[in-house]
Symmetry: C2
């Protein structure tokens, strides 16, 4: 018998390079790096690590390169994440983002999809789908994500679709509408919601509830909003962090917190409160997989 | 007794990230990485590896961070380079350059000095000076480089100064004139020569021979020029590569080839021919430490 997971996460596992500089260089010049950090990241990596820390049995499905760092792999194993479907692809690079910020907090980013592009050529990673109750389909190739959603739905799993920033540059109206039709929950932020409505030619965000049963929209430091096809529509207030150091991974922690409540069969408002609480821990330190709270930490911050 | 080296090299040992993209991103946008390579680099690392491959007993003095890759360290050991003075500095980063090229071959670079900045705080790395006949002082902190030159000269070593691109942004007229006064040989390219003359307020490049005994100017694919205070002044023709793939490290290979001739007590024209031949191997593959020729390879290409 295969392991029973509550959550199966599809998406990027990445090694991100975060640099700060004084000003962006003109072409054919160099600029000194003031600070440079390498972070374990990727939305799926972040989410799986947060969920596992909250005690949610989690499987992670992704593709990395043969340059994938041993210490990242050890870290994921240490969190007891089911890594059956975390595959190393020979001759490919681990996905990576190089993010460069100037002294005025403007950023430029360089996104390397690396091994994840091999999704187009590989068979479906079925273990993560089949062993989980909830399948969270994050970033990745649209055709692959569609197959994941279809199998998950056929296996009667709860399916969440969460293309994140890739809605802007990986999806188009056609591929997006194909995938969201196979999903039960849609996660997005405000700018992603706009694009989703444009792709589906919908005037109101509520109209998305003709396609999915639940719409979860994060609205930055103002918290989030949850709408359901059953007519629920409420705002989830943000949870106060001790200090805001770096918002990387806040959205991923939010999702992990949400699922930790769902696993305990809590109601939507409680799931939202746990989500906000988990996010508030994520922003208190650099990186998307640091300052990991336990279930008790998050529960206390959510419910006092 | 300590090991006898012919060449002692001071400068950067770095891990470089080379990316190609379509076009440079505007602030607050991302751009997809088409290709990304991580290369063992740093001018001192490149030079030491080439020199050792040519059979020159070589010591390497540099500072790296605790993120220094094991495989780079193994590679340097495998080349039998004397690594007594290659120090890992806790809590510092390995020097790195992130170089990004667009589809029109324009580049922007982000330079992380990392651990090398600790030179300002650490005692002199004397082994590399004391065990070598020739001390090559490349990139690094000006005050530290000055101390290296002074000790090397006191120990009656032949001293070469080679600040490379750092002449533009690390040195000023004062620090540059202090260091070059302690050197016997000055290496540069044409734009660095201009800056050197400006710093020293010299009208003609030949006037540098009032300060050093030998001036070696690389002039890209047109070869190089060698001038001495004894009145020699000749051009070294370039050596034809089988194909030109990437010019990274060509200058470092040139210097290694030059020293390989000097070690065999060859005359300057012969040293120059070996230098050009070594450089021609460096440009035939990506990276500054690949396609390493043996002494026989270089000798054959230089002299037929």
């Amino acid at each position: 018998m295969s392991k029973e997971n509550f959550l199966g996460v599809f998406g990027h596992v990445a090694v991100d390079v975060i640099c700060s500089i004084d000003k962006f260089p003109r072409p054919n010049t160099c600029e000194a790096i003031i600070d440079r950090r390498t972070e374990f990241g990727g939305t799926a990596g972040n989410m799986a690590v947060f969920a596992a820390s909250l005690g949610v049995p989690t499987a992670l499905a992704s593709l990395v390169g043969d340059d994938f760092p041993d210490d990242y792999m050890e870290f994921l194993k240490d969190k007891k994440i089911d890594l059956t479907d975390l595959k190393t692809i020979k001759g490919r690079r681990t996905p990576s983002v190089i993010m460069i910020s100037d002294s005025s907090h403007n950023q430029i980013g360089f996104v390397d999809q690396g091994a994840i592009l091999a999704q187009d050529k590989l068979p479906l990673q079925t273990h993560t789908i089949d062993s989980s109750k909830v399948v969270h389909v994050g970033t990745g190739r649209p055709d692959y994500s569609l197959q994941v959603c279809k199998r998950a739905r056929k296996m009667k799993k709860l399916v969440a679709f969460d293309p994140a920033q890739e809605i802007h540059y990986v999806y188009d109206a056609h591929s997006f509408s194909n995938v969201i039709k196979e999903a039960d929950i849609f996660f997005c932020n405000e700018s992603e919601l706009e694009v989703a409505q444009k792709y589906l030619k919908l005037k109101r965000s509520k109209d998305l509830l003709d396609t999915v049963d639940m719409l979860i929209v994060t609205i930055g430091k103002r918290g989030s909003r949850i709408l359901t096809s059953a007519g629920e529509d409420f705002e989830v207030p943000p949870c106060k962090a001790k200090k805001v150091v770096d918002t990387t991974g806040a959205g991923d922690a939010y999702r992990a917190g949400f699922y930790s409540g769902m696993r305990k069969k809590m109601d939507l408002a409680e799931c939202g409160a746990l989500a906000s609480a988990a996010a508030s821990f994520a922003v208190e330190s650099f990186g998307g997989q640091t300052n990991l709270p336990s279930w008790d930490d998050v529960r206390r911050r959510a419910f006092g």
